[in-house]
Amino acid sequence: MKLAIQINEGPYQHEASDSAYLFTKAALQAGHEISRVFFYHDGVNNGTNLTTPPQDDRNIVKRWSELATENELDLVICVAAAQRRGIVDQGEMERNGKSAQNVADGFRISGLGQLVEAAIEADRLVVFGD
């Protein structure tokens, strides 16, 4: 089955990203396809490569990146939400004259249409939020 995931909350503040990650892993293990993971609201903060969590804690951003690489996941950060919150890729950096880019490996920034499209194409949409 084809599943789309939406994450509305940032890492560490709320359990949403942890739940979504464990759900995604379990779905992949069961042989399902995760057609897209869409990061919205503060969820866009899951895609910054500037976090340094304590050594004895889980690295939420890194494990999403790794899961994406291993399974060719499409991790999409909403551009409108990202611009508000300072999540910037190379293109956004140049367009908006910012001093850096901070999108972690395996993530890409794209429009809200990607969420709607995912909801149309997937068999299920599962939302993790506050």
Partner: protein, 102 residues
């Protein structure tokens, strides 16, 4: 048509649980996750509502979230089933759609 409802809020903090209970039709599946798992415990002020719901809906609680909070299966309201993440995935697939009461 069938719906899986998820609730991730403590019923003592937000109205997500009561809203879920009153907006889910008979034979729906309800899964308590994150702080929603507090709704699955016996002898609380909302246990009566859950008790009635168990009679016409399938109610589940996410085991890893339960355990993380120092709770165990013995404390659950009768009729509530514990699932793991694989079970969560199965519930999503077994129902036509998901309503997440955030």
């Amino acid at each position: 048509m069938s719906t899986l409802h998820t609730v991730n809020k403590s019923p003592f903090e937000k109205n997500s649980m009561s809203s879920c209970l009153s907006h889910s039709v008979a034979d729906s599946a309800i899964l308590m996750i994150e702080d929603g798992v507090y709704g699955a415990i016996k002898n609380t002020s909302i246990a009566g509502d859950i008790d009635s719901a168990v009679k016409e809906k399938s109610i589940y609680v996410l085991g890893p979230d339960l355990k993380a909070r120092g709770l165990n299966e013995d404390q659950l309201i009768d009729g509530i089933s514990v699932v793991d993440y694989a079970g969560f995935v199965e519930l999503v697939c077994a129902n036509d759609k998901v309503q997440n009461w955030l």
